[in-house]
């Protein structure tokens, strides 16, 4: 996977922290700083994979626009890989 340091896109550290804390069952659970950064990266990869795989599916069907049906086709394998 290429370096994307120059790009603006990507999840923010604090957003990731709040996203995770929304679902913790124990009120004492915290996420340390490095883990927040790593999880942001994990989510970036998740989204890019979903988008790229759906795009590849659309291109296989000779289409220029990615629609929900293309996402549906790639979703099972995506979830298995994560």
């Amino acid at each position: 996977m290429e370096e994307r340091d120059g790009r603006a896109g990507g999840f923010r550290k604090d957003t990731v922290d709040r996203l995770l804390r929304l679902h913790f069952r124990d009120g004492r659970t915290r996420v340390n700083g490095d883990a927040q950064l790593l999880m942001a990266e994990m989510l970036n990869v998740f989204v890019r994979e979903a988008a790229a795989r759906a795009a590849r599916q659309a291109q296989t069907e000779d289409l220029e626009k990615v629609d929900i049906e293309h996402l549906e086709k790639v979703l099972p394998q995506l979830l298995l890989d994560f």
Binding site: H23, R48, A54, V66, D67, I68
Partner: protein
């Protein structure tokens, strides 16, 4: 009691909505990058769907991470827990491990910088310590 619970629920709902909006925005940005990379367009519905799926996946991630940390008898989730999360795909695990190593080495660099600054400051106070600091620097130049 019921009123307080209801207020708490409403607060949670608002937080959920705000977070969903934040996710949707970031997903839009990332999809735009993929559009440029692959010379393709995403329908609004497909972006919204990716956004929805990502938000839901966070719940699974959060629960798993919490379990991993608890299993290690910790209440703070660390990078080892995140790496466990990436175990299902070898290329994903490799990528996350790489990122984790990069983080660790940049943290180490920061520590080294702070150490050098504080030892330089000490050197100016005591002549004996200053000599020691100079010797140290010479050694590092040689290595």
């Amino acid at each position: 009691m019921a009123a307080a619970a209801a207020a708490g629920d409403e607060e949670r709902l608002l937080l959920t909505q705000r977070l969903k909006a934040a996710v949707h925005y970031t997903v839009g940005c990332l999809c735009q990058e993929v559009e440029e990379d692959k010379d393709i367009r995403f329908s609004k519905q497909s972006i919204a769907a990716i956004s929805e799926i990502t938000f839901r996946q966070c719940e699974t991630f959060a629960r798993d991470l919490e379990m991993f940390a608890r299993h290690a008898k910790r209440s703070t989730i660390n990078t080892e827990d995140v790496k466990l999360l990436a175990r299902r795909s070898s290329s994903l695990l490799k990528y996350i491990t790489q990122k984790s190593d990069e983080l660790a080495s940049s943290n180490l660099e920061q520590k080294e910088k702070r150490k050098k600054k504080s030892s330089a400051a000490k050197g100016e106070r005591t002549p004996g310590e200053k000599e020691a600091a100079v010797t140290e620097n010479e050694d590092s130049n040689m290595s």
